[in-house]
């Protein structure tokens, strides 16, 4: 249970949060037309006759959009409705050519499911929490108004008009900004694993309507407000925090929260009222008569399920079973690119625990320094596997491995090649090591005395000196054994 509370003048308040996330489905074509969907195209260059709602034009569902929404539903273990239907949501606006949005109100494609967010003590999530998902339906996006093109007129860009969205509606199960943030991040990860949405919030591929209400802990739900189109995890959390405080202050000063739609202004970090319930549109939903009900057959559903990749939770469990630490498992599964990279590394023969440590510390550290990420890593999983293999089979030590990795980053060469070229191979030549040990013990007779006198911590000193003398190439295990012998 979250113990996140807003401390008001009159006591503590609990925050209740529900999110409606709009995720743009990754497809080449729109939901009901064949127009392209690429981001950043010149205005009105990706508009079909259907998207512009020319007379007599008809929508035809894009199978791939439906498939991606179904796969997404399966990824959150949701009920998939074999029979669903499209409805029209009627309202007038210049960015809505048809005068209605085709959506699914009465019979959504995907029913109830759930998303589990991991425990995060620091964020106030003491244990994993299951957030219910009410439904996922598919719908058309609207176009975009541009108000900065002309002094007295607004321009309309219809490139987004008709683009396929999934609306993923959570239950009001979240109780803190951190939980909401974790939910959005987890949802984004799942979408990206499934490949149904690129999760790019900056480009508007994913945005959230944030429903917030406050109540005394244990009371009935309070009246909620809905803040529209919030486009980053940070903003989602800021909206919740700000809106909850606003509501508490409002109630405590004798006011009442009105059900309304609000807009978030990131520059001022505040929300303002857009329209109240009284001004709410009557959308006159009714089944779209241009479209037949959507009926999914077994073959379609089987293909959807079989084409699902291993998902974050399953992957995390698998990594844990391989002995990888929970922290590393979380880090490696958070982004689909990292997980894919790591899996390729394992496939190339790397040992899981060592590989996980190496990726999360050495590789991520190096990438960080270079300002790169895994997708443009200068070292491939195969190259990394080669490096880790050299450590695992005792060819080089961990210390040398760091040097080799640096050289790989500089030159792009293979690990074995560098080790060979620079003579970095680890040695287990007992003769050479014994000779160095003899010199070191002779030169440090006083420390030898102290060690023999019980100061066992000095053992590390002798190891270090020996390794140094061997230029790091001595097999540490052999060094240990020989030192123990020599020190009697």
């Amino acid at each position: 249970m979250s113990d996140y509370r807003i401390k008001g003048e009159t006591g503590e308040w609990e925050v209740v949060i529900g999110l409606e996330v709009h995720a743009q489905i990754t497809t080449n074509a729109k939901l009901f037309s064949s127009a392209a969907t690429a981001f950043g195209a010149e205005p009105n260059t990706q508009v079909s006759l259907v998207d512009a709602a020319m007379p007599g034009m008809l929508p035809v569902p894009n199978r791939e959009c439906i498939r991606q929404a179904v796969r997404t539903g399966m990824a959150i273990e949701a009920q998939i409705n074999r029979w669903s239907r499209f409805d029209r949501k009627n309202y007038f606006y210049a960015d809505l050519p048809q005068g209605y949005q085709i959506s699914q109100l009465y019979h959504p494609l995907v029913g109830e499911g759930a998303i589990t967010v991991e425990a995060d003590e620091k964020a106030g999530i003491p244990e994993p929490k299951v957030i219910g998902v009410e439904r996922i339906h598919v719908e058309q996006d609207a176009g975009k108004l541009m108000h900065d093109q002309h002094p007295t007129m607004s321009y309309v860009d219809l490139n987004r008009s008709g683009v396929a969205l999934m609306e993923i509606v959570s239950k009001p199960d979240m109780r803190s900004p951190a939980e909401a943030g974790a939910y959005v991040r987890k949802l984004r990860a799942i979408l990206r694993y499934v490949g149904s949405c690129d999760g790019n919030m900056e480009e508007g591929s994913m945005r959230a309507d944030v429903n917030v209400s406050v109540r005394r802990p244990g009371d009935e739900f309070g009246t909620r407000t809905e803040t529209k189109n919030v486009n980053s995890v940070r903003f989602v959390m800021a909206v919740i925090e700000g809106e909850a405080k606003r509501q508490v202050e409002l109630i405590e000063s004798g006011g009442t929260v009105v059900q309304e739609t609000r807009l978030y202004d990131p520059d001022r970090n505040e929300t303002r009222s857009m329209r109240s319930k009284e001004d709410a549109h009557d959308y006159r939903y009714f089944p779209d008569p241009d479209l037949l009900p959507l009926e999914l057959d077994d073959d379609f559903l089987v293909e959807c399920r079989e084409s699902l990749p291993e998902l974050p939770d399953a992957k995390r469990d698998r990594y844990l079973a391989l002995g990888i630490s929970p922290y590393n498992a979380d880090v490696l599964t958070a982004e689909v690119e990292a997980a894919r990279w790591f899996d390729t590394l394992l496939d190339a023969g790397a040992k899981p625990v060592a590989a996980a440590n190496w990726v999360t510390s050495e590789l991520f550290g190096a990438l960080n320094r270079m300002g790169r990420d895994l997708t443009d890593s200068p070292v491939s999983p195969q190259q990394a596997a080669e490096l880790l293999g050299l450590v695992a089979d005792g060819t080089i030590s961990g210390t040398i491995a760091k040097q080799v990795f640096e050289k790989m980053l500089e030159s792009g060469g293979g690990a074995a090649e560098i080790v060979e070229r620079d003579g970095l191979k680890q040695t287990s030549d007992t003769g050479a090591i014994e000779a160095e040990i003899a010199k070191i013990l002779a030169a440090n007779a006083d420390k030898v005395e102290q060690y023999k006198g019980g100061k066992e911590a000095l053992f590390g000193f002798f190891v270090g000196q020996t390794m140094k003398a061997m230029q790091g190439k001595a097999n540490p295990q052999v060094v240990n054994e020989l030192l123990k012998k020599a020190l009697g």
Binding site: P55, G56, P61, N90, Y93, Q98, Y285, L291, L292
Partner: protein, 499 residues
């Protein structure tokens, strides 16, 4: 040359094929009739050049031995079908001057089959009306007149009133129509011609200006049953661009035409016997029953118990869909735009003012009435009482037919409760106008094929039509029963030329 315009589609096709005349001669003859019939106001746009071009191609194809099914046949195109490069208005001010850069699937199929276009035919605005009086471009006048010594102008029926008039007045041998609640059958009946609304989904709706999507269905209108079959074969077919299109092969309806109805059973719905109906209608119906018996059919009485709810359900569902379908006419992207200089309170006008002014100006009274009705029945608090109930009724009506078709192959009924009425007679009373669709809307609600064939003249000398309703996908039985009536009714009356 005038006799060429008396030929049917089949006669033109066969005569042209045989070399009796050229397609150019046919096109020119019909275009001359079109040009000479302005008084009927059947066309909104005349396109003799289109017809001529297709005719030249047809003559060339004949020489090359590459004739197509409709080579040499010029037709009229209801102005609800979008035609590439030719103004398409749906008879509205809203779309006045709108020239699509695309061709509707049905019209494209007809051009691909070799047909030429004589022009775009007048209709009720957005296909909403039963008399063609709601057209922004003026009403069509029926070529028919009562034999009462008067010269009262009569309604050609609606909404396909330009189509019915053009065919009846020999301005074209055939035309396209669309039927949402009788818009092919009722005008056909009013003007003594034939017309068939096929099973919902047979003809693609792509490129047809939408009225009520779940009901709209294109179909042919022509002088006789054979021509309807020929035309329909060249209009129907699966279209991936229409999600409600039927993915079925198009039968060879013409080849399978047969008026021998032995082994067939005709159902007579008792609920269609209306109290106080014009006795001429009942007499025609009885005569039709006798004709089908004569053709070998058995006749049984059937019951369609929910018939009386069909009209109210239709006038909820159709306006509901229309209110949404017509939302796209907003002045933003095409068609009429009326942006007032100032808003009602004297400030600068904005988007809402543009919507209001454009739609007030662009839609006629009947269209506005239906948008208002549709908006009302879909609004919060009324949706269940109206729209949901109407959909239930629709399901019950479809079930009525299903049960009835367990004991018969086709159903015979009048097409309309009266002959053509005078222009202006019903415009003041929308309900009386809507009642004209009483026999037509049940088949529309059930999506069934239905046709009207001319069966008799009433005592005023006006044509009356009989309606044949068939099972889904069984246009053939409908056409065959129509043919049996056509052969026996011997209907050869035509309007005397006065225009």
């Amino acid at each position: 040359m005038t006799e060429l315009t008396n030929l049917t589609v089949a006669q033109i096709r066969d005569g042209h094929r045989a070399g009796d005349f050229s397609a150019v001669e046919v096109a020119e003859a019909f275009s001359a009739n079109v040009a000479g019939a302005k008084a009927l106001n059947a066309f909104i746009v005349e396109t003799p050049e289109h017809a001529l071009e297709a005719a030249k191609q047809a003559d060339a194809d004949r020489a090359a031995g590459t004739l197509k099914p409709l080579s040499g046949v010029p037709i009229g195109m209801k102005d609800l079908f979008c035609t590439d490069g030719v103004q398409t208005t749906a008879a509205s001010h809203m779309l006045e001057g709108f020239i699509p850069r695309y061709e509707s699937t049905v019209s494209q199929k007809l051009w691909d089959a070799g047909a030429g276009m004589l022009g775009k035919l007048n209709l009720d605005q957005f296909a909403m009306g039963s008399s063609n009086e709601t057209s922004y471009f003026g009403n069509v006048i029926s070529p028919w007149r009562r034999k009462d010594g008067g010269n009262a102008a009569l309604a050609p029926g609606g909404s396909s009133g330009g189509s019915s008039t053009a065919i009846a007045a020999r301005l074209c041998p055939a035309a396209t129509g669309t039927d949402t609640g009788g818009s092919i059958r009722q005008p056909a009946a009013f003007t003594g011609i034939s017309g068939i609304k096929p099973t919902y989904g047979r003809c693609s709706r792509w490129g047809i200006v939408a009225f009520a999507s779940s009901l709209d269905q294109a179909g042919p209108m022509a002088r006789d049953v054979r021509d309807c079959a020929i035309m329909l074969e060249n209009m129907a077919g699966f279209d991936a661009k229409d999600a409600t299109s039927l993915n079925l092969p198009v039968p060879d309806w013409e080849a399978a035409l047969s008026s021998d109805l032995k082994g067939k059973t005709v159902g007579i719905p008792k609920e269609y016997r209306l109290e106080g109906i014009d006795p001429d209608i009942d007499a025609m119906w009885d005569a039709g029953i006798a004709m089908l018996k004569d053709a070998g059919a058995a006749v049984v009485e059937i019951s369609l118990p929910h018939t009386k709810y069909a009209l109210p359900a239709y006038y909820i569902i159709a306006p509901a869909e229309a209110s949404s379908n017509l939302a796209r006419y907003d002045g933003v992207r095409y068609g009429l735009r009326d942006l007032p200089a100032k808003n009602s309170s004297g400030g600068g006008a904005g988007l809402q003012d543009m919507y209001a002014a454009t739609r007030a100006e662009g839609f006629g009274p009947e269209v506005k009435r239906r948008i208002m009705i549709g908006t009302y029945v879909l609004s919060a608090g009324f949706y269940d009482a109206y729209y949901t109930q109407a959909q239930k009724v629709r399901t019950l009506i479809a079930r009525d037919f299903e049960q009835a078709f367990a004991s018969c192959d086709v159903i015979l009924a009048p097409t309309a409760p009266s002959a053509a009425f005078g222009l202006g007679e019903k415009m003041a009373d929308p309900l009386a106008m809507y009642l004209n669709d009483v026999f037509a809307v049940p088949a529309s609600l059930a999506g069934l094929p239905a046709m009207s064939v001319p069966a008799a003249l009433n005592r005023e000398g006006l044509p009356l039509g009989l309606q044949i309703i068939g099972k889904a996908f069984d246009e053939q039985s409908v056409l065959n029963a129509g043919l049996a009536i056509e052969e026996r009714a011997g209907f050869n009356a035509r309007a005397e030329k006065w225009w």
